[in-house]
Amino acid sequence: MMHNPVKHTIDGQLFSLQVTDRDVETIMNHIREGKKVKRKLSAGFVLTMILILAAATALAVAIMSGKEFTQDVLAPIAAQDTSTKWSQEQSEELIRLAKENGITITDDILKQIDSEEGAFKESLMRAFAKSQLGYYPASWSIEDQAWYDELLVLSGIKEERTRFVPSEDEITEQEALSCALAYISAQFHPSYDLEDEQNYERYVQYMLSEDDLGNPIKVWDIEYVATNEQNESYYVIVSSDGNVTPDESYTSKGDDSIATAVPVALDQLLSMIEENDYFTVENMACFASNYKTEIESLGDNPPKQYRILQALSKIPYSIPSSTDISQKDALEIAQNQFLDLIGEDTSRLAFYKHTISYRVYDPQKPEWRVCYKIDLIENYYLFRDGTIPFGVVIYLDASNGEVLSIQELWDLDLYYYWCEFPDEHDSEQTVAQGIG
């Protein structure tokens, strides 16, 4: 790897943070003595925890529902420490308290408690709540989902709230369901009544998501799952103001081959990038033909993570013929053009990665395309003052090496659209879809 400014900065700036011989000795002494390292807990924190535990124990003597037990007993005890799992002593105490309060100990709870690895706090809390509320989250009301979410945050198990009850200025559950049903009826004309419990199970959640720009938004996540294989299933997302979008990542039961093939294609693409430091001419030609059918089946509006695959599948990658100039010659011509642009300082080449591909849009005029891409994170400081472009793309006539066009990329967003994956800029649709 070239100069890595992240590593350089952290190691340089945090040089004084080092594990010394004394630190090693301290840890090893703790291990030999079987002691835990002393944690820096404030006296106030300890006192608060003692009070919480006392309150929890007092509450536990009353008869409780599974939900109350989760909230009033499990959550306060879970908040006592930062571990993700219950200790053996805590598990035994919880079972004792549960029995004392007439809580049903389900097989799920017993299995978790008996697990050799120990029970996860969240999982066991959910199991106790499920003993009253049923399967999570399908059978839980929106209010119960939000209650549980808040409880996890208060217990320190989860960092941020992600499930909510809609506020007054947001549409209600019934309104969201009406929007979803109207949309599905108009777009897909389902053969059966989606509200018929014989044919469909309905799952509803109101949760935090992200819009296309990564901004947090609340959405209704509504799914109608067919109970028999003949029916289609539907999955839509309704925004908090009532706009409906289908979630294209949802695949109905008949499309298993596509559901499997497309993630495999994405995985293969990432492998190629990792193993070959971006694409090689040969593997892109192979990739494009291997997955074309599956990727085309995603339709015009694929889920975000697959858009790059769709864009790449539309580019006519191929392998050069014997009458074309070689890859080596194409690179040499492109490099000279590139150096002309950035000032003929060959040391600057080190700041760029280059990729090369061979494409046949017109059988009479195949092209070499060479993309010089600044290695963003590793050359973090250079592009800040605009001394060198983020990327340069050079097109050559593959038959004779003539330079067809040169594009310099200076804009950050264009850089992302055009250079992160080196070949998608050919497709106007790709850019319009906002890949990157």
Binding site: M1, N4, P5, V6, K7, H8, T9, I10, D11, G12, Q13, L14, F15, S16, L17, Q18, V19, D23, V24, T26, I27, M28, H30, I31, R32, K36, V37, R39, K40, L41, S42, F45, A79, T82, S83, T84, G156, I157, K158, E159, L213, G214, N215, P216, P263, L266, D267, L270, I273, E274, Q305, L376, I377, Y380, Y381, R384, L412, Y416, E420, G436
Partner: protein, 173 residues
Amino acid sequence: MAHAAVPGITQEQKLEQWIRQYGTAILRTCFVYLSDAAQAEDAMQDTFLKAWNSMEKFDDRGDGAAKKWLMRIAINTCRDYRRSRWFRYVDRSKTLDDLPAPMEAMSAQERSLLIDIMHLPEKYKRVLLLYYYQEMTLQETADVLGISRSTVHSRLQKAQLLLKRILTGREIR
């Protein structure tokens, strides 16, 4: 450097070797994650104590397995720290003046990069630390965090984008 199992050494010696080999990098990772030197030290020590308690179950196949395992423990330990109630009530926003003094003269840009990274949302900070600071591959980063490689890739892209926005003064979320 990959940690290879050395035949004939005791578990204690192996742990001590790991502390010397990976301790400093783990300590610094914890600092960037927790923004607190004392907490980072605790988290580093906890990491090795947890490793010690589970060493019998750990299958050290060499090839970086120990580093991945220790990093997973360290990241989970830091997550635990951040989940704790009192952690959330402490102001952890840092400025350049709060950082330890660097060993050598560093440019303001280099110093601000560290602050920028520390201010990244947690999920992006995790992948950045493992991929760039610990110099793990996409697959190793995915293994440590228990997420898919494509998720690691997209988070790295987003992390880079956020850092760019910080650099160019654009609004970040």
